[in-house]
Amino acid sequence: MHIPKDLVAASATPLVLGILTEGESYGYAILKRVNELSGGELQWTDGMLYPLLHRLERLGYAEAAWKVPAGSRARRRKYYRITEPGRRALSEQRRQWAVITGALGDLWHEMSPPPSPALQGS
């Protein structure tokens, strides 16, 4: 399924912030988590995640630090950790999304059941 760019962009910030509430993480792991959460439907161009992470860092929503994970000769990675302002921004976004998904959910409920993904093709 193709998800339009605008929708991806709008959901990216809460998704990444939400993933960071699960614990500090680095870019590649965040992408894998997004992939997993969306059942593989939400495919970002990998490189685009990093400007987003840097923006969160600049806004003070996340802190970054280079660390070498345990494991003898592992590569050092840039880990991001959510900050208090980041958590506040996330809960704000969460309320906004709740309004949207709630409204849409009511609407979908009144309409006929959604088409099964199997019929969608890919």
Binding site: I19, E22, G23, E24, S25, Y26, G27, Y28, A29, I30, L31, K32, R33, E36, T45, D46, G47, M48, Y50, P51, L52, H54, R55, R58, K67, P69, A70, G71, R73, A74, R75, R76, R77, K78, Y79
Partner: protein
């Protein structure tokens, strides 16, 4: 932090082995096994392409490369060959253009190359302190004579004669230090000319305000500036490349110096105004300390800025050259056209030689900075044609002027000013004539542009010699008048 992220924890049956494999695999990828060098070369090439994007800095590159390696390792786990894994990983990363524009949106400040030097580098800090030391030396040089009773106001001529020494001896010293020139060699190369200059301007019995004194004051900085070039080149002053570097340096230095002077002017006038508002007259302090010391110290500071920034910001002198070459070419063509149209000979006047000296010097400067920024492999183009028009029209205008002067040479009278102006004209004319000839050869595809560059750098000592002649030989020749 041992685990890499939440993903691994959520689906251990799938993710954890991969993660471990990844940590295991990375050293293998870097180790010299039979496939790795090829993969390393591919990654290095990908990184090099991204490196050229100004919006992506080295830390981002490390981050992106780490991501790419993670992806390749995962794909390798899934059974792909390293080169296939690389192709897919790069594709998923996104095109270099897209990445670059995404990064540029987030990091737009990086597109503005920073003028303020990075404070991080340790040796740079040391260099900075040494630079400040030499700048203070230059600033002190202008104040020390006051201890012995000289004053900027009453002994203006003493200062005028010595100012270039005050400024350029510390600058030469800075470059000797900067290039690591051995002290013995530096003394052998530089001490004699500097001491000779100091002796000549201070021992010669100039009449007060005489022409020869003014000429010496004007020509000494030229000779000494070229002498500083010896220190700049680290003693390797015969090298054509080093001389061209010094030409580039001089242009940039001038731009920086003018900028610093503008800032200094604002500082000085604001200081004066602000203090006068509270009833204190700071004028004396500002002119004798802030401006005097600042002007001298800035000579060294501007040099340091050029050195520190030479790779960071685009050189300004060639940009200005590009801007003004067409305008000056148009001006000279218009001048020639007007001379032909009105059929008026040049009105002979005592400053005409000086005016044309300035025109030739300017044309030479434009030519020099156009060459200095030029890629030698670039073929002949429209800008070269403009340059050629500029040089040839300057030559023709100068020849017309010289003919006018020659026909009245008997009325001329050989004053020091006229001989100096005529000599300068000959020096510049000789350079530009050969330059025009070489440029024509380049236009017709017979010579590389490098021959013009070599000619310009080979000619540089002529200016130094001529300026030295004016300083050293003119005063006795004309009886210090």
């Amino acid at each position: 932090m041992t685990t890499a992220g939440p993903g691994e924890r959520k689906t251990p049956e799938h993710e954890t082995p991969e993660h471990e494999a990844l940590d295991r695999e990375t050293p293998e990828l870097e180790a010299p096994n039979h496939e790795a060098p090829e993969l390393e070369a591919l990654i290095a090439r990908w990184r090099a392409r991204l490196e050229q994007q100004p919006a992506v800095d080295a830390t981002d590159l490390d981050e992106l490369e780490g991501h790419l390696r993670d992806r390749i390792a995962d794909l390798g786990e899934a059974g792909l060959a390293p080169d296939e894994a690389f192709l897919i990983a790069v594709k998923r990363m996104g095109s270099v253009d897209d990445l670059s524009s995404e990064f540029a949106q987030e990091h737009s400040e990086r597109l503005w190359k920073r003028l303020a030097p990075e404070p991080a580098a340790e040796p740079a800090t040391h260099g900075f302190l040494v630079m400040i030391g030499f700048a203070c030396l230059a600033a002190a040089a202008v104040k020390v004579p006051e201890i012995f009773g000289a004053s900027l106001v009453d002994d203006g001529e003493f200062y005028a004669r010595n100012l270039s020494l005050f400024a350029l001896v510390p600058l030469a010293g800075y470059f000797v230090w900067r290039r690591g020139l051995p002290a013995a060699r530096a003394l052998r190369l530089l001490a004699a000319p500097f001491i000779a200059a100091a002796v000549v301007v201070n021992v010669y019995p100039f009449e007060d305000g005489s022409d020869t004194e003014v000429l010496a004051v004007l020509h000494l900085p030229i000779a000494l500036w070229l002498l500083v070039g010896v220190a700049y080149a680290g003693g390797d002053w015969r090298s054509s490349r080093r001389r061209m570097d010094y030409v580039r340096f001089s242009g940039e230095w001038f731009v920086y110096y003018v900028l610093i002077a503008l800032g200094g002017g604002v500082l000085a006038s604001l200081t004066q105004v602000a203090f006068s508002a509270i009833g204190i007259d700071a004028g004396e302090f500002v002119s004798s300390w802030v401006l005097a010391c600042g002007a001298l110290g800035a000579v060294v500071v501007a040099s340091w800025l050029v050195e520190a920034k030479q790779s960071v910001i685009e050189n300004m002198a060639p940009v200005l050259t590009r801007l003004f070459t067409p305008l000056f070419a148009a001006m000279l063509v218009a001048l020639l056209g007007a001379m032909v149209w009105t059929r008026r000979g040049i009105d002979f006047d005592r400053d005409i030689l000086i005016v044309f000296d300035l025109v030739l010097a300017l044309v030479l400067g434009l030519l020099l900075y156009a060459i200095s920024a030029r890629d030698p492999r670039q073929p002949y183009g429209p800008f070269d044609l403009l340059q050629l028009v500029l040089v040839v029209s300057a030559l023709v205008a100068d020849a017309v002027m010289l003919a006018a002067v020659a026909s009245r040479v008997s009325d001329l009278g050989l004053t020091p000013n006229r001989v100096a102006a005529l000599g300068e004209n000959v020096v510049l004319l000789a350079n530009l004539s050969v330059s025009a000839w070489l440029y024509l050869g380049f236009a017709r595809g017979r010579r590389p542009i490098a021959s013009l560059e070599r000619w310009q750098t080979a000619y540089a000592p002529v200016y130094a010699v001529w300026a030295a002649v004016v300083v050293v030989a003119f005063p006795p020749l004309f009886g210090f008048a």
